[in-house]
């Protein structure tokens, strides 16, 4: 049984270390999914957390200057200004009216500071399931 005892200790150490890494990793990289409406009602809390906000890119608002890209997203009537300063170039699917997911923090000036943008081409992917559902019904 001595072997199994040693083995169990080693296993416990490995799992312990990994669990510790996992917990640390979660608190380091977690970000909250919020809608634009929710962000607007968060008040002061908004500055402490990393957020993921999705919305549709308002046509004509994309302005690129060097690394920085500024644009506005909207969800229904709610709008939010976003400035992107990440190192990765924006995805090809990112353009007017595409659905964008901005990941970052709310800046003190009320402009959302995103360091990651994911985008889906709205015209294609969004229309499809709805059409499929209608046909299915």
């Amino acid at each position: 049984m001595k072997t199994y005892g040693k083995f169990a200790i080693l296993v416990a150490i490995i799992i312990g270390v990994l669990a510790w890494l996992a917990v640390g990793g979660v608190s380091e990289s977690k970000s909250y999914y919020k809608t634009i409406a929710e962000v607007n009602t968060m008040g002061n809390q908004v500055h402490g957390k990393r957020l993921r906000v999705s919305g549709y890119v308002v046509p004509g608002t994309i302005v690129r200057s060097g690394r920085e890209v500024r644009f506005t997203i909207h969800e229904d009537a709610m709008k939010m200004n976003v400035v992107y300063t990440g190192s990765e170039p924006l995805p090809d699917t990112f353009k007017d009216e595409s659905q964008a997911l901005a990941d970052g923090r709310m800046g003190p000036d009320g402009v959302f500071q995103a360091n990651k943008i994911q985008a889906k081409c709205a015209s294609k992917y969004e229309a499809k399931p709805r059409a499929a559902n209608q046909a299915g019904m």
Partner: protein, 677 residues
């Protein structure tokens, strides 16, 4: 046409259900005719699914835009090859591909085992055909690929179609999805055999021997699929990343991890008769993770860049998974007495224990990736807030795990079975350790200590490389002395004698080389500039001159490209032409990056177009050190896996299968007689 396709699918689903029922009834009633009939039905299912797939492909190729699938995924201006690949460009088609591959696999299994394993085959067949029925059900009921637009019969829509997503119009994307699917679907077969062995109470080694090569092949397909995906992301997405811990990527990685664990732990069962329960669990886990991966990619549960699917098929998958997992857990628990280990762990420093640690951290990694992927779902259920984790979380856990695995890759194969003495450890590991540490000291002198993980990774890579090289060298020297041949023929002879062992070393070497490539990512550099034609820029050791910007268009897309002359010092390296395209039918822009691939580093240029004010041209430049080694490592891995599949020249027999196995079998037979009586 589309009606014939839909009808074929309908018939196929009927026949596959028939095959399940008849196989089970035939087995229970001991009616050989029914069993054979169940197997014949598999051929018919394959024929019918092939007809359906053929019709879909034909419609895509000829551009039958009345069909909603064709209209959504093909367009008249696309190259023929991409019209073919539109088969798996969307949800319905890719599920049809799944079903078709599974039908093909089932047919191969039924054919090759038509005279073997007769008592197990009805169950194997039943499991495969149940899975087939499930996928056929999906493309018959909620997601038929043969739907006509607007449901108006005779309503002919003349149009060009929306076209395949231009990002997917790239050569690796032609083979990436089928490769992944060949891997995903292939795991149904080992799983079916595992279940067959459990039901027939033969948890011995016959199913493992039968499925070993199969498992290797599907594992190779999975690896190839994942690597092609990385290669595609690197060359197409425009930021040079090959892995982003996106849910869809994770979905493909999860079963690969458990399959890798299985490939290792299965040796424990073959050689020592240990970990039998564990192997059943791993095979089942891999299979269900494959299904789960399909579910994740197809249902839109977790948001993802790849998610080309948000649909109602989630409940179908959850039901299938729930029933399947419950059934498997019940079977394993019920058959536990037949899955007893034949040996005990004798020492912490032994081959057995290295296998166990290998499995432990692989499964831990799988669990961490699964946890991170499902974090938004879990957190929403628990706290009501949807929280996601991304790259840093996964890297934080998986980098140490990767290094641990790398270490075991070097240690595992050399350490003795049962227990290792300190002297033998010293003999085996002294020089590799010295080499690894020396490299780390050497690299530290160049400032690499700023990246401790990278430093450790390089050290471990050399450590493992040395152990592998020593193994080949020692073995070949012995053969050389005995047979009086050259070194190279001796190495070939050595490998041929024990293909699994030396093939395994080659696979390990491939993994090490890939690690070198991944480690290079710690030293990536990038910059974005706004320039005009005629300007030059300095980046790293490169000088780049914007020679020209050209525009044009063809039937599929309009393009604008930048022509850049690249110099290193005063030496001209070449001309690079990053291009920006706008696809006409989908109005989607894409970037065609230019990559100067070299062994030490890649220079990677992306041209996103002119700046917003229209006065300058934007250029994004990246340096990716060592990235080419990832692709080289893959080729080594491919060769190694193929070597593993070559039958060894000398059949090795293990003491256990001759002595211990027989008595165990008798015990098992006795107890099964008791159970039957």
């Amino acid at each position: 046409m589309e009606n014939i396709g839909a009808l074929a699918l309908l018939l196929a689903i009927c026949l596959s259900v028939y095959s399940v029922v008849v196989s089970i009834v035939g087995k229970l009633r001991k009616n050989a005719f029914l069993v054979v009939s169940g197997e014949r039905a598999v051929y018919a299912v394959w024929g019918l699914v092939t007809v359906a797939a053929g019709i879909l492909v034909y419609s895509l190729m000829t551009g039958d835009f009345r069909m909603s699938y064709v209209a959504a995924h093909s367009d008249a201006n696309m190259a023929l090859i991409y019209r073919f690949t539109a088969w798996w460009g969307g949800q319905e088609g890719s599920l049809l591909l799944w079903a078709w591959i599974l039908a093909s696999y089932s047919m191969v299994v039924v054919f090759t085992n038509r005279r073997r394993l007769r008592d197990m085959m009805p169950w194997v067949n039943a499991v495969m055909m149940t899975t087939e029925s499930f996928f056929l059900l999906l493309i018959t009921l909620p997601l038929s690929p043969f739907k006509i637009l607007e449901a108006g019969r005779g309503n002919v829509v003349e149009g060009a179609g929306q076209g395949l997503n231009p990002l997917l119009q790239y050569w690796t994307m032609v083979i990436h999805p089928p490769m992944l699917y060949l891997g995903y679907v292939g795991f149904t077969v080992p799983f079916a055999f595992a279940i067959g062995s459990l039901i027939t109470r033969q948890p011995s080694d016959s199913w493992i021997a039968t499925t070993r090569r199969w498992t290797l092949v599907t594992w190779l397909f999975q690896s190839t699929g994942i690597l092609l995906g990385q290669g595609w992301a690197y060359a197409v997405l425009g930021w040079g990343g090959y892995w982003a811990w996106d849910p869809v990527e994770n979905a493909s990685l999860l079963p690969w991890i458990t399959a890798t664990a299985f490939l290792h732990s299965v040796m424990m069962q073959e050689k020592k008769g240990m970990m039998k329960v564990w192997n059943q669990v791993l095979v089942a886990a891999t299979f269900f993770l494959c299904i789960f991966g399909t579910f994740l990619t197809r249902s839109g549960v977790v948001s993802s860049v790849h998610a080309f699917a948000q649909s109602s098929i989630g409940t179908y998958f959850v039901t299938f998974l729930a029933i399947g997992i419950a059934g498997t857990v019940f079977l394993i628990l019920d058959r536990l007495p037949y899955l007893k280990s034949e040996a005990n762990l004798e020492s912490v420093v032994s081959r057995e224990s290295s296998f166990m640690f290998n499995n432990l951290i692989l499964v831990a990694s799988c669990f961490a990736v699964l946890w991170g992927t499902l974090f938004p779902v879990i957190s929403e259920a628990v706290t009501g807030e949807k929280i996601s984790v991304d790259g840093p979380f996964f890297n934080r856990i998986n980098i140490p795990i990767g290094l641990g695995l790398l270490f075991l890759t070097g240690v595992g194969p050399l350490i003795a079975w049962r227990r290792s003495s300190p002297e033998s450890l010293k003999r085996a590991f002294m020089w590799p350790s010295v080499a690894g540490l020396a490299l780390m000291v050497f690299l530290s002198a160049f400032g690499i200590y700023e990246h401790p993980f990278a430093l450790m990774s390089f050290g471990l890579c050399l450590f493992v490389t040395t152990t592998i090289a020593l193994e080949f060298w020692k073995g070949a020297r012995i053969l050389q002395a005995k047979n009086d041949v050259g070194f190279i023929p001796a190495v070939i002879e050595l490998t041929h004698r024990n293909t699994r062992r030396y093939g395994g070393y080659i696979v390990h070497m491939g993994i090490v080389i890939m690690f070198i490539g991944y480690t290079g990512a710690a030293f990536n550099k990038d910059t974005t500039r706004e320039l005009n034609v005629g300007d030059t820029m300095q980046f790293g050791r490169y000088t780049m001159k914007i020679a020209d910007v050209q525009e044009g268009e063809n039937s599929n897309y309009a393009w604008r490209k930048m022509i850049v002359d690249v110099f290193s010092g005063s030496r001209e390296i070449g001309r690079m032409e990053p291009e920006h395209r706008l696809y006409k039918s989908s109005q989607q822009p894409t970037s065609e990056v230019a990559i100067q691939r070299r062994l030490n580093e890649d220079l990677y240029l992306n041209y996103p177009g002119p700046s917003s004010d229209g006065k300058h041209e934007v250029i994004q430049a990246y340096i990716f050190p060592l990235v080419t080694w990832i692709w080289i490592g893959f080729w080594v891995l491919l060769v190694g896996t193929l070597v593993c599949m070559v039958p060894p020249k000398i059949r090795l027999s293990y003491a256990r299968t001759q002595i211990v196995g027989v008595t165990r079998k008798e015990v098992a037979q006795e107890s099964s007689n008791v159970a039957k009586g």
